[in-house]
Each structure stands twice: as structure tokens, then as C-alpha cells.
Amino acid sequence: MSWLEWLDTATKKILFRPDRKAVRRELEAHLEDLREASGLDEETAVASMGDPAALAEELGRLHRPWLGYLWRASQIALIGAAVMYCLVLAMLATRPHFQYRTLPGVDLYNYLQADTGTMAALYDLPAAEERELLSGTVLETGGYTIRNNRAVYRRAGGEDGWCLYIDLDITESRWEEPLDPWFILSGIRTNKGDAVKSSRSTSVDWGLWQKCAFALSGLPEDAEWVELDLGWGEWKRTLRIDLTEEAET
């Protein structure tokens, strides 16, 4: 039996091709070592390697093909996932929501200032008068804890008159479900009725933490309080902000 025939016979029961190649290389190296050490010719050396059929049975038992196939499948899945991930990142990188939600601790004041229209007017104009109001109210609803972190009442000048900025910290029980700041606002009232000229909102989120801001403009001159209804039906909660009580600084 030639050396190549011996190798073919000994490895024929290893079904996973990469394993078969590796075992062949190992057997070749072994034969080479044997010939170098003993000085035998090829035929004698091959004969001294033993019965290839018996070895094939043993090697076939040791090298289970499903493990090899599983390994190859896991490699393909990993490479595929890595390629997909790069594509997803490339596709999403240009979307604003993706940029904002990946910036922990982003300054909402700056974010709002970059916005157009009312919000820009609200923060760019020098305040004729500004009051830091009492805050700290905590509301719990729908698995969310909403804390009124800051409230600033300010006369911005121009047509907007008095504006109220409300900064909320929201903690979520489900990190993949940040609140939709615009739609949670189900009502705005003041002691002078529903007269609020316009309202804007924005939010950023990171994990279980979300920061959300509302800006109400054109509040009545002599308004004493503002109530914001957050949520709908049985989940509706009211955040009341007293416009007359200033926070201690």
C-alpha cells in the first residue's frame, strides 16, 4: 500500500473536510518524523503505522461531523451578523434620532436652541424677567416615573410674552420604550383657561433614563398656575406648576 492510499483509507471516515485535511497533515508529519528517526524506507514506515481501516474507525468516532458543521455555521452567522451590523450603522448614522439617542447627557438647552421657530426665540432673546420655579413633583404612571426636574418662567420679549420651560427626568421600567413626549401631553390649562399660544417638546433617552423638555409660550399675563395632563385614560396624571412660588436659590 502506498503512503497516499494509506492516508486516504485512514481518513475516509472523517466527514468534515477541514478536519480530514488537518488529520492528514498530522499523519504526514508523523510519518516524516518516523522516517527521519528510524531511517526506514516509505513502504516499511507505512507498514509500521498500523492498520488504516482500524484507524479510520477510531478517527471517524473522534471527529464528529456535526460539531464541525456547527462550528462552520457559527462562523458564517458571525460574519453575516458583523456585515449586517456595519450596514445598519451606515444606514442609521444619518438619522437624527439615532445621533441624539446615542449621546448620553446631551444638554437639552443647546438642543432646543438649535431648534427653529418658537424655541429659538424663547432662548435666544435676552430675558426681561426670569423666575426659577419650585420643582420636584414626581408622577408615576404606566411603568414610568416622571420627575419635574426644573421649571423656568421667563418673559422672553416679542409676541410670545411669558414662556414656561419644564424639564422632566423620566425613568423607565422598559429601556426600549422611551416616552413619546409630544403625544403624552393630553391637556394644558392655566387658571385663566386653556390659553397657551404654542407648545414644543423634545427628548433624549439613554437606557432606562430619559430627559424630556416642554416649552409653553404665550401664557396669560396674570397666570398663577399651569397644569399639564400627561397620558390618557386611567394613565392620565396632572403636573401642576405654581407660577407664583419661586425656588430658593
Partner: protein, 202 residues
């Protein structure tokens, strides 16, 4: 020739690859804003993000093309949604409506399959009225658009009256049936004795 020993046994490599794949899939799911495979689950999640509780009432209509159009009602709000097509994941595409003091006509923006018992096997236009007067047993709708005047009797489903109108097929091609600015209507609600309870125009 020296044999190179691989520090990782094959089982460990498989486990490592599976874990890394799972991590990448998770990161993709996160970057894609957490899509689901179920349209209803996606809609419910969107609702939770609006602080919209478990709906007091849900109505599901089958559109003429076999999709499910779902209307959820809670408090003063209605969330209506259909599954967005052309995506691998099930994405609800919700529209949101605030309910006013008076009942008002809500237009289902798709043609629906013929109601039970209907003769015409063609697409129907559907309108809904939420929170009608409590004692209302009957409701009549008179709808006017550039195709003509149409009337329909409402079918009550708990707290919703549904009005189905079967226009001619060539009329449905126009957008006038689904654009509230392009039609006017009168609604009349009657109690079980036939007394007029309320009239609404829009």
C-alpha cells in the same frame, strides 16, 4: 514539524461565535429601535410610549386587501394603526386622534372588505363615531361629497357606531372618500323610542 495547539477547543469556539452573533443581533435590534415580529405587539408598545393604557375598546377591521386595521380607544384619545408593508419586521403605523366634547366622524383611511351580508363584493368606505350619546340606539349618517349624497345607518359596536358606504368602484378611486376636508356630514342619534337625542354636523 511541530504541531500547533489551538488554545480554544471547538465547542468553546462555537459558543464564542454564537455569543458574539447574539450580541451583534441585539445591537442591530437596538439600533433599529427595537422592532418586533408582531404588529399588535409593536402597536401596544407604541401606545405605552404615548402613556396610552390598555384600550377600553378595540375594533379590528379587515381592509379590502386583507390587512388588519385596528382602532384602540382609551380616555380622550384614539390610536388607529395598520401594519406597514415592505419591512421585514412588523411595524405598526399609528395615527392618533384626540376626541372632542361632541361625537365626530372618523374616517377609516382604507377601503374595507364587504360587511357580513353585503350584496356587493367590492371595497367599502367606513366611518366611525366614537363615544356617541349613551342612550343612542340608532344613528344615521348623511354624507355629502362631490360624488353625491349618501346615507348609512350605523352599526353599534360597544361605544362606537360604524357606518359602511358602498360607493361605485370608479368613485372610490377618488380621494374624496378618505379626506375629511372633502366631504361634509350630518349625524343624528336616536334613542330606542325613536326620539332624536343629538345632531352633529361637520
Amino acid at each position: 514539524m511541530k504541531k500547533q495547539h489551538d488554545p480554544w477547543p471547538r465547542q468553546a469556539k462555537i459558543l464564542r461565535n454564537i455569543l458574539l452573533t447574539a450580541l451583534l443581533v441585539f445591537l442591530m435590534w437596538d439600533a433599529w429601535l427595537w422592532p418586533t415580529f408582531s404588529y399588535r405587539a409593536d402597536l401596544r408598545r407604541v401606545e405605552r410610549q404615548m402613556l396610552f393604557p390598555e384600550p377600553e375598546m378595540t375594533l379590528e377591521l379587515e381592509t379590502f386587501h386583507g390587512n388588519l386595521y385596528r382602532i384602540d380607544l382609551a380616555g380622550d384619545a384614539v390610536v388607529a394603526a395598520y401594519p406597514r408593508r415592505g419591512t421585514f419586521f412588523a411595524v405598526a403605523n399609528p395615527s392618533r386622534h384626540f376626541l372632542g366634547e361632541e361625537p365626530e366622524l372618523f374616517c377609516v383611511p382604507y377601503t374595507i372588505a364587504p360587511p357580513d351580508g353585503a350584496d356587493q363584493r367590492q371595497p367599502w368606505a367606513v366611518y366611525a363615531v366614537f363615544r356617541p350619546p349613551e342612550d343612542a340606539a340608532r344613528a344615521l349618517l348623511a354624507l355629502h361629497n362631490s360624488d353625491g349624497d349618501f346615507t348609512a345607518e350605523g352599526v353599534r359596536e360597544e361605544n362606537i357606531f360604524l357606518f359602511c358606504i358602498c360607493p361605485e368602484l370608479d368613485e372610490l378611486a377618488h380621494n374624496i372618500w378618505f379626506t375629511p376636508e372633502r366631504y361634509t356630514y350630518e349625524l343624528a342619534f336616536y334613542d330606542s323610542q325613536g326620539n332624536l337625542l343629538q345632531e352633529v354636523t361637520g
